[in-house]
Structure formats: C-alpha cells, structure tokens
C-alpha cells in the first residue's frame, strides 16, 4: 500500500484566511471568537440568544475570489470551500503533476447551504414568497464538492460526507484510504461550513450547550462550546509521487479509525471514542507509546470533555496523563462539519513546526480529568505521532493519525 503525505494546505477561518495567517494566530493564541453581529434575516442583526459570541469570519469577500455567477449559485459555505481548495491545490501544484481523473475531492459538510435555505423559508412563511430558483443548488449538501470539482476541473471521485461534527475527519480519513489503496493518486480533502444563520443560532441556544462566557475546553469552569464557520483543506498524495517531483511535504497521514457509539443522539460514550482511537492506531501500525500529541475534539461542554478524557484513559492507560493534549476550538470555534479539517490543519502545522498549539483561555484546568492539557502557549515537541479526534452528535467518531515528516 502507498504511504500518504500532505503536500498542500489551504484555509478560510476566523483566525486567518490563509495558512500563514492561521499559523500565526494558532501559535500566538489569537482567538477568532468575537461578539455576534450582522446575523442575516434578523430584525436588527441580533439573533436574540443567551450567548454573545461566535467564531465568525469578517474579512472574506467572495467577490475578490469568485465571479458573480458562481457567487449567485452557491452559499457561503461553498465560497469558503472553493477558496481553501484553490489555496491547497496551488501550493501542491496539484494539477501540474496529477491527471484530473486521478485526483479525488472528498469534503465534509454537515449543514449545507443553511443560510440560503433559511432566507427562502422565511420569505415563504412570512409572505408566501416564491423560492429563488437557485435555492436547491445553493443548499444541497454536496454543493461544495461539486463546485470545487468544477472550479478546478478535477474529474476523479468527488463527494461530500455528512456526519455532523465528524464530517471532515471522515472525509480526510476516506481520502487517505483511497490514496493509500491506489484508487486515486492524490486528493483534496477537508471540510467547509457556514452555518451561522438566525435559526441555527436559535436552535443551538435551545440545546443549552453554547458557552455564555468563553469557550474553555478542559477547564474546570468550562461552560460550553462556541459556534464557528470556515474551511480547511489538505492536498494528499502518494509518497512516491511527492518524492518524484521533490514536493514540499508537510506531514504524513498514517492511520484512520472510525466507530459509532450506537447509544444516544447527544450523549457521547467513552467506549465509542476509544474504539475509534484504537482503530486509528492499529491502522497506522503504531503503538500507544508512539503518540506524542492529541488534538482533542474538546468542545468545552461538560459531557464532551469528560467523556473524551475517559476514552483517552481507556486507550492509553498509565500514559494518558502524559500525552500533551489541546483543543484548538478555543481559537477557531466549533465549525461543525468543518471543525475536523481545521483541527487537522492545526495538527499538521504543530507537527511540522515541532510546537504543539495550546488551549486558549484556560486558566484553571480540570485536574480531575488527569490529562496533560497544554495551556499558556505552545509547547515544543520532537517528531511524533499525533491523533486528531472528532466525536459527533449521533455517536459518530472519527480519528486520524498523523506523523511528523522528517
């Protein structure tokens, strides 16, 4: 089987709309979480919810990147996806070295074109208005993958995966297996999401899991998650093809594991997350002793963080308290279907730069969890294997294992 390496990176996020910007914010601990504003379709831009912050993207103008026809036919989530995919493809010089039919596009997206759909439904319910004729193509969940393929003229296997908050980790894992097996020689994989609409804010408010203060994963006083948006992309390809053209390699994907809790739609189970981590390690053919970093799902809710910590103890036993761990959601928020891709990007950058990103905003770590939470700035590391965890509503778990390239 092929070894699979990462040769291109791209992103549009609340902490940077290019990878260098994202990297700077990540290691500086500069958060993209800010007061909610300008929510479309609300009477005054205020969604009227108990929490006041979200990780929104303010510095992205689609007109700077896309022509009017594409902008009109697509939702904000697809705008993010196309631009991030272009960045990653350009960095890897993807189409210069791979035939369009040999490249896969595997995206993760949980919400689709939610804001466009809400806008049309509002018109229908309040004025019996007709729906805009582009509503379907703007809102379908696969719009991102389709438009990226059209934009880059890539004709290989192309699809969007929807598994709630694990969507883009599943996407990266599937793409990894496709390249490893030889089904495709390269892939653009990751996720894209722009769900910050009025109804979305309200629905999460009703669930009472969004922090009214600040997202503080693994803090003793954690009180919830913070919603976000964005896109992140990896270009992956066989080691053979990357070396044949002297490509810059940013890291290696070595394993992928997934599982289902089969228990509860919102209450995570440690056994399910542990199974996904074990499968990723087995797939990578590495032992738990080889793991030197975990980018946790780490939403900042009471249930997630305690369950994930318990899962880590199940997998790593005595070593669980010694593996550096962080949740970068404290910086870029929870971008739902795209969050796994943002975290994979953060993990790749950490491995590449040999410094592990920290969990911002945590001054009082939850010592009862008995894990090594990185706080107060990045931590230096040697070459290592890292896990990037995604644990979704519905009990769908996905974990990718990455290794420092050296």
């Amino acid at each position: 089987m092929n070894r699979v390496v990462i040769t291109g990176l791209g992103c549009v996020t609340p902490i940077g709309s290019t990878v260098p910007e994202f990297r700077d914010s990540l290691f500086a601990g500069r958060t993209g979480i800010s007061p909610i504003r300008d929510v479309p379709d609300t009477p005054d831009g205020d969604p009227g919810v108990r929490y006041k912050q979200a990780a929104q993207i303010f510095d992205f103008d689609p007109a700077e990147h896309l022509d009017s026809g594409i902008i009109s036919a697509t939702n904000r989530n697809t705008h993010f996806g196309i631009v991030a995919a272009r960045q990653a493809a350009a960095q890897a010089e993807l189409l210069k070295h791979h035939a369009p039919g040999d490249i896969a596009i595997i995206m993760g997206c949980a919400c689709g074109g939610r804001s466009s759909e809400e806008h049309e439904v509002k018109g229908l319910y309040t004025r019996n208005a007709r729906a805009h004729p582009l509503t379907i193509v703007r809102t379908m969940s696969s719009a991102g993958a389709s438009n990226i393929s059209i934009d880059l003229r890539i004709t290989g296997p192309t699809l969007d995966i929807s598994t709630a908050c694990a969507s883009s980790t599943h996407a990266i894992g599937l793409a990894f297996h496709m390249v490893r097996s030889g089904m495709s020689t390269a892939a653009i994989c990751g996720g894209h999401e722009a769900p910050l609409s009025w109804g979305f804010y309200r629905a999460w408010d009703s669930m009472r899991v969004v922090s009214p203060t600040q997202c503080r994963p693994y803090a003793a006083d954690r009180d919830g998650m913070t919603l976000g948006e964005g896109a992140a992309m990896l270009v992956i390809e066989t080691l053979e093809s990357a070396q044949a053209r002297n490509a810059t390699i940013f890291g290696e994907i070595v394993g992928f594991g997934m599982s289902a809790d089969a228990n509860h739609i919102t209450q995570p189970q440690a056994e399910g997350a542990a199974a996904a981590m074990r499968k990723a390690l087995a797939d990578a053919n590495v032992s738990p002793e080889d793991v030197g970093y975990i980018n946790a799902h780490g939403t900042g809710t009471q249930a997630n963080d305690a369950t994930e910590a318990a899962a880590i103890h199940q997998v790593f036993g005595m070593r669980a308290s010694q593996i550096p761990l962080s949740s970068t959601k404290s910086l870029h928020g929870h971008a739902i279907g795209a969050s796994g891709a943002l975290e994979a990007l953060a993990t790749v950058l950490g491995l590449q730069e040999r410094r592990l990103p920290h969990t911002a905003g945590v001054t009082n770590p939850d010592t009862s969890l008995n894990i090594d939470i990185i706080v107060n700035g990045p931590r230096a590391t040697g070459p290592t294997v890292a896990l990037s965890n995604s644990l979704a509503f519905g009990g769908l778990n996905a974990v990718i294992a990455l290794r420092t390239w050296q």
Binding site: S68, G69, S72, R127, R130, L134
Partner: protein, 89 residues
C-alpha cells in the same frame, strides 16, 4: 430607452457582473454567455422587479435582451388587462 428596458438591462448586467453599457436590446444571450442557470436566475429577478410571472413555455423562446424587455411589457399589459394573475410575492 424606456424604464422597463433600463431595469431589465440592469438586472442582466448585475447577474453577469458586466457594465450596463455593454448590453443592448439586440444583444443575444449567447453573446453574454448566459447559460440555462443564468437564464432562470435572471428570469426570477425580472419577475421580482416587475411583479410578474414568466410562463415556462416563454423561457425557451428568450434569445435576446430585447426578447426579455418585450416579454415583460406584454406580461405587464396582460396583467393590467386582467388576463393574467399577479405574482404571489
């Protein structure tokens, strides 16, 4: 050029992100690179602007900007004469 023609050209120009002065009544959809998706998008915007509904069978016969303008005028007149229902929005 009358107001209906000006407004129709503005809608087409906005949809294609091109200057209004590059569009004339005899400009063809082919010249403007208007595809089927553009066509239904522009039709929707025209319907919204003039509070009319373009019949499905009329969409296929639109070939030029002038066709759009003439079609809009006919629909407005028909509506005023009470021979067409008003749009629902």
């Amino acid at each position: 050029m009358d107001d209906i023609a000006k407004r129709s050209i503005e809608i087409i120009a906005k949809a294609k992100n091109i200057p209004t002065d590059t569009i004339h009544l005899d400009t063809t959809f082919e010249e403007l690179n208007i595809d089927s998706l553009d066509k239904i998008n522009i039709s929707f915007e025209v319907e919204e602007a003039f509070n009319i509904e373009i019949p499905d069978e009329a969409l296929g016969s639109l070939k030029t900007v002038g066709d759009v303008v003439n079609g809009v005028k006919q629909l407005i007149e028909a509506k005023a004469a009470g021979t067409l229902p008003a749009a629902t929005s």
